[in-house]
């Protein structure tokens, strides 16, 4: 898949055809399942391919291609449902209401323990995978995932409730 992505980045026409054939039905089915509407699913599928074409240069070849693609698909879906109020009219109003800015985030990060900060930086900034971190820390991958999840939850609570409540 990453090889195909590299070809797409170079603008290879055959690669684009292959990509379209490989993903058109998959993505359309996905949107149809999420939206339960064929026409909207078709529109969103077109939008998806346009977005991929526009953003393919930003794709980092060192990272897996599938998550990048599906992240774009799902973000399109979320944006679409927010735009089209007939989908999830109630939940949509609250979505993304958390206001994260760097200053506040930094304050919350400062409240973490040294170990927690190191782990957070290793994962989010240095981009170590949970597998690599598990190896470094000499624990299981599951243990690393749980630790990181707890740290994220702490940060989430801090960001949500304000800096004094951590």
């Amino acid at each position: 898949m990453e090889e195909l992505a590299a070809k797409l980045k170079k603008g290879n026409r055959e690669a684009w055809e292959e990509f379209y054939n490989m993903f058109h039905n998959k993505i359309k089915t996905l949107f149809q399942k999420w939206l339960n509407n064929k026409d909207d699913a078709e529109d969103l599928t077109q939008e998806f391919f346009l977005k991929i074409r526009k953003n393919i240069k930003q794709y980092d070849e060192e990272r897996p291609f599938y998550p990048w693609l599906y992240r774009i698909a799902f973000n399109l879906f979320v944006d679409f449902t927010r735009r089209e109020k007939r989908y999830f009219p109630l939940e949509g109003q609250n979505m993304g209401s958390l206001n994260i800015n760097y200053g506040r985030l930094q304050k919350c990060i400062d409240k973490l323990s040294h170990e927690e900060r190191r782990l957070l930086e290793a994962f989010y900034i240095d981009r170590y995978s949970s597998k690599e971190l598990a190896f470094q820390y000499g624990v299981s991958r599951e243990a690393i995932r749980t630790r990181l999840y707890r740290i994220r939850e702490k940060l989430r609570k801090c960001l949500r409730r304000g800096e004094n409540e951590m």
Binding site: Y70, V78, E91, R152
Partner: protein
């Protein structure tokens, strides 16, 4: 899929297989609170990346600053040596001028203290009263 499991998977989204991604997205499409978590994680990553860009720029700026300071320091040390011909023995000819606009201009603008005269390159080390050429440390008359 339980919400806690889904949220953990959101954090490790890049490590998931295609099957796991589709399972997770299926859950997200139906679970507003997990969708909210997805949005928050997106914002969180954006902020972390922004902060990283800021840090990288600051690091880059400090490198440039340090390099410039080293360059200035090194140039100053070199110029100290170059104004001491007796020590280096490399500079043989010097032009010392007073009231020569070209020389003063160069001294003002100062990046290079040298001056061309009759096909020869001279190093200006000082402005003196009487224009003359120092050759082998002996001042000759009139430029």
């Amino acid at each position: 899929m339980r919400c806690e499991e889904a949220r953990e998977k959101i954090i490790f989204f890049e490590e998931l297989s295609e099957r796991e991604i589709l399972e997770l997205l299926g859950h997200l499409a139906e679970c507003p609170s997990c969708r909210e978590f997805w949005e928050e994680e997106k914002k969180f990553i954006q902020e972390i990346e922004k902060a990283q860009v800021l840090v990288n720029r600051m690091i880059h700026f400090s490198y440039v600053l340090i390099a410039s300071l080293i360059f200035i320091l090194f140039s100053n040390i070199l110029s100290l040596f170059s104004t001491s011909p007796a020590k280096t023995g490399e500079e043989k000819k010097f032009l010392m001028v007073k009231g020569n606009p070209e020389a003063e201009y160069i001294l003002d603008g100062i990046e290079d203290f040298s001056l061309e005269f009759e096909g020869e390159s001279y190093k200006i080390i000082e402005i003196i009263e009487e224009p003359c050429i120092l050759e082998n440390l002996e001042c000759k008359k009139e430029v």
